[in-house]
């Protein structure tokens, strides 16, 4: 299903016909690159979609949760190895640390600040989270300086080469890790009591309150979970790329696009949306020109919104304010 979708999307991306014929191999390489990087976008977007769908908030500080996760796992890794370099799989040990710390941060933020504007007009939540985002960004800058930090988790032989397609091991670890975190969250929401409470609050907060669900606590847990998965993604980003105080905004904007692709509040939608976005960007970079990657992405956002506002999996009605 994804492949035809990509064909149509790539087609919709404009000048595919006009570019020099790339060998089929490199197109597959671009798709692989896209899926590997898209899984991280997806995990960040899942947290964003969860908060939007359940608590009804557009969290502009969501990217900062990912950024903080990156720093937490960087310092944890430094603590573990002492030198800042170590075997590739060791990074997985720091992921739970980032997830736990960010859960607490997310829960605390909701209880202390966000809860005061949860039922207000959407734009007030936008402003409060905007204030939060620049506050967290600057606090991190003052604390850790702006030097890019990167986790030195490496493999002796860094990548597999399967039939001419280069697959970096570290990215594969990140791919599996992000999908695992997404799956864990999904299972949690579907099976546990707290998970059902969260989905109930998403549908109808008043009704949930009537049947005895502590809506306040549930919303804070949701915020915590959303920050936790973003923190996990941050750990992988710090390993594959690097983390600086300013990287948050870019991932928040990408989450906007992904949530629209996948539908507001829908976790599977955000997962597919993330993978789709990664692939679209890498295909554009590979086939057309990397200068146009963001232009194609944002144009797709507007086109999709007009054609199918509910997104691919979304349940939200068109006029849901």
């Amino acid at each position: 299903m994804i492949v035809e979708q990509l064909a149509t999307t790539a087609g919709a991306g404009g000048a595919v016909g006009a570019i020099p014929l790339q060998s089929a191999g490199s197109i597959v390489q671009f798709v692989v690159n896209g899926l590997l990087v898209g899984s991280i976008f997806a995990l960040v977007a899942i947290g964003f979609a969860l908060v939007w769908g359940v608590v009804g908030i557009i969290n502009l500080a969501h990217g900062e949760m990912m950024m903080l996760g990156g720093y937490v796992s960087y310092w944890a890794f430094l603590g573990l190895t002492g030198t800042g370099t170590g075997p590739g799989l060791l990074v997985l040990a720091t992921v739970p640390v980032a997830v736990a710390v960010l859960y607490v941060v997310g829960y605390g933020l909701q209880r202390a600040i966000v809860t005061r504007v949860t039922d207000e007009d959407m734009f007030l939540t936008l402003l409060v989270t905007f204030g939060l985002s620049i506050f967290i960004q600057q606090a991190t800058l003052q604390a850790f300086s702006a030097d890019p930090r990167s986790i030195g988790a490496t493999f002796a032989d860094p990548s597999f080469v399967l039939g001419g397609i280069v697959v970096p091991k570290m990215k594969l670890v990140a791919f599996v890790g992000t999908l695992a975190l997404a799956a864990a969250l999904y299972v949690y929401l579907q099976t546990t009591r707290r998970g059902r409470a969260i989905r109930a609050v998403a549908q109808n907060p008043e009704a949930a309150r009537l049947v005895g669900i502590d809506v306040q606590h549930t919303r804070a847990v949701t915020f915590g979970l959303s920050a936790a998965v973003a923190g996990g993604a941050g750990a992988f980003i710090a390993t594959i790329l690097n983390v600086t105080p300013q990287i948050g905004l870019n991932y928040t904007l990408k989450s906007f696009v992904i949530v629209v692709f996948g539908g507001i509040g829908s976790i599977p939608g955000a997962l597919v949306g993330g993978l789709l976005l990664g692939t679209v960007e890498e295909l554009t970079a590979g086939l057309v020109s990397s200068q146009l990657t963001l232009a194609v992405t944002f144009t797709l956002l507007v086109v999709l919104l007009v054609v199918k506002p509910q997104g691919l999996f979304g349940s939200g009605t068109e006029g849901s304010t």
């Binding site: 939007w52 005061r116 506050f135 200068q291 146009l292 963001l294 006029g319």
Partner: protein, 352 residues
């Protein structure tokens, strides 16, 4: 219910301020314009203070234009800076590449922004609420990339726009745009056009069922906001002597102008302008006094102010005045759902 008779009505302070505001708004606006026109003639010379005041007018225009769409019509745009950027580049390109005289290039900025808004509006105005906000953000972000890619806009290196009019001229250009826009918005909010916009904000389905072609009105408000924002963008280019995709489509301003409208109080004329002047001055002062820590302080000021003033300053004023109005005339506790017998208001007999 405190005994309040018709004549000796005790008017709450909020009510007094508002009725004076509404009653003599034309006079007030004229006074406001004169008060702001005087400084450069008398004591203010070109430099920092003039720049700060000019920027206050600029942000007044941006906040008021956003409010036209977000506050009055209930369509929360998250991409108004797209009009600003289109305006800035239109004037910049016409003026430097095609040698068009600056005043004409400036006016073209407003016209181009209107055309851009009309085209974009066809797609975007069909959406509502969250979806509308994201679509407008998408339009803004796509415009940034487009300006980075095109040659004529100077790509990401931007365009140097030296040799423009003097600081004083810009002071009056931005002041004029602000005053004209305030007058237009003030006038429109008293006309059917203004009422219909508020009706669309409160219940677009009802407005449609009452015979209103809402698309026409939404597009009109959207393009009017685009005109003023584009004009401000056009003037800003030469004022700042340099534009590039980051400054022309400034993402920080994109949120600040909304904060100004909300903090000031949406759906009014004074609200966004009060918010713009107040927040911009606060930002300039915080930048100056706490250099290096200013963003942390700004972040907390935004959070505290939104929590304290969910309705914004002017909005809270109007809110209180309305609450008093309702009590005074024997209405039940506001919003109480039990159908209170409306007929037993003081002194007037229900017509049985």
């Amino acid at each position: 219910m405190s005994e309040v008779d018709e004549e000796g009505t005790r008017r709450s302070p909020a009510e007094v301020v508002l009725s004076v505001g509404n009653g003599y708004s034309a006079v007030l606006l004229a006074l406001f314009a004169v008060a702001l026109a005087v400084p450069p003639l008398v004591f203010l010379d070109e430099g920092f203070y003039m720049t700060v005041m000019t920027e206050m007018f600029l942000f007044g225009v941006l906040a008021l234009s956003w409010d036209l769409v977000g506050g009055q019509t209930g369509y929360p745009s998250f991409g108004n800076m797209a009009f600003f950027g289109v305006g800035a580049y239109t004037t910049g390109i016409l003026w430097t590449e095609f040698g068009v005289a600056y005043p004409a290039a400036l006016l073209a900025a407003g016209v181009f922004a209107v055309v851009f808004a009309a085209i974009i509006g066809l797609a975007v105005l069909r959406l509502r609420g969250h979806y509308f906000a994201i679509a407008t953000l998408g339009v803004l972000l796509a415009s940034i990339q487009l300006s980075r890619y095109l040659e004529i806009t100077g790509g990401s290196s931007g365009k140097v726009l030296l040799g423009g009019p003097s600081g004083e001229v810009f002071y009056y250009v931005f002041l004029a745009i602000l005053i004209v826009e305030m007058a237009v918005v003030r006038y429109l909010s008293g006309t059917r056009f203004g009422f219909v916009l508020n009706a669309i904000r409160d219940d677009e389905r009802k407005a449609t069922a009452m015979g209103v072609d809402t698309t026409y009105y939404k597009t009109a408000a959207w393009t009017l906001a685009a005109f003023f924002t584009g004009l401000a963008g056009g003037a800003y280019g030469a004022f700042n002597t340099f534009i590039d995709p980051q400054t022309a489509y400034n993402l920080a301003w994109n949120v600040e102008l909304i904060a100004m409208a909300l903090l000031g109080g949406t759906g009014t004329v004074a609200g966004p302008v009060v918010g713009a002047f107040g927040l911009h001055l606060a930002i300039v002062e915080i930048d100056s006094l706490f250099s290096g820590w200013q963003l942390m302080i700004l972040g907390s000021v935004v959070i505290v102010t939104v929590v304290a003033f969910p309705n914004g300053v002017v909005g809270t004023l109007r809110q209180r005045a309305n609450a008093m109005e309702y009590y005074k005339f024997g209405g039940g506790a506001a919003g109480e759902s039990s159908p209170s017998a409306a007929s037993s208001t003081d002194g007037t007999e229900g017509s049985e």
